[in-house]
Amino acid sequence: MSASSLTQLKMIVERVVRPVRATMVRKRRMREELLAHVSAVFAQERAKVGDDAAALARTAARFGDAQELSRDLQQSVPWIDRMARLAGPPFWLRRPGESRGRFAVRQCLQLGIFLSWAGIGGSLLLYGLLFLVSASIRQSLLQVRDLALVLTGAGIGLVALILIASVVIFLVHGMIHALYGPRGRSWPLILLLGGVMSLINVSIPLALFGLGQLDARTTLPELLATLPGAAVGGPALLICIASVCHRMTDGPVGWSWRRIGRLYAGGCLIVAGATFIAVLALSGDALLGSENTLKILLILSSWIIPLELAVASPRIVARIRADREWANLLLD
């Protein structure tokens, strides 16, 4: 079968599957199974008529009307799957012809929906647990008059989380553009975005301290000692996420473990060196410097190691790339 015929067969399938509102996992299953079916039908028809174009037309006719099949497929999706789609994490694939900015806005909206669901669900679960515990120990753990205050606090926290996550999404897209844009690497943009990330990472603990939301025992010198780590760690994490996103979809299929190890060790050395020197300069306390350096390395590693493991898995990368291929099919 030629590549062009395969693309045409995928288009027959995608016309049916794309409009279906279901989770990615279910749609992936539908696509693969339906593609196997139309490929077999195409092979039968090709053997009969001996011509690809005629065989494709006959395959499409045998398969049925796309709109009708989409409707039927939609009806076969269980309600729980439809709900899971709404509560699912943001869709990470760019649509055909979609600009990076528009893609980022769509991701922010989807992330907002996901976080809202997760936040509301989590709060309800917590409230339910508190209610059950209160009932079992016959003592109220949460006063009704406190409930409005707790819910308002949770709502503000949720909105702040969505805002911060949206800013991070835009920064990641900007960093991907700065690192791997069509016009090559742009150092001014890398520095600018890294600087913005640093500023955000430093402002959050300061703002929380100012609002009295940090641990009451935290003193100002201790807080100041954590800032260099936050300032260096933010851009490091941003670059790592941008690199992983690029390698998942467009970049070279995989990096050798030696290269990842070298980059990881180099990155850790830069972050550790910068953090230690800055804390030492601010506080003059080498022990505090070592403690904060270790903390920031642990935080970064807890993000970077799972991300690198995901991108090193050929199965995950192949799946994401296949999803992207389907998403990029242009349907008339």
Partner: protein
Amino acid sequence: MEQITGDKLRGHLETIILSTLERGEAHGLEVRRRLDEAGCGLLRLKEGSLYPALYRLESAGEVKAVWEAEPHGRRGARRRIYALTTKGRRKLEAGRVEWQQFVRVLGGILGAPA
């Protein structure tokens, strides 16, 4: 004889699929081939419509499906093999009884008893 199209099959498709799977596990195309064979080529069903019915049956626990071990075709699209479950067998038996009653009642009304 006149061909039997999708509209006339609506409402019976799931029972028909269950009956084809009674002969043994099969993937979608094989289900269609068995239908063709049993219907003497008179059943005219859009092949895509088999899958929503199979998914509904799977969600209801009346069939179970597993991916075939070897990919089918050049680019590795795999097929799923469907098999009847105990619940599906019960549903098929109930479907047969319902069909016999339907034919008896309509046959009586139309003056063409089965």
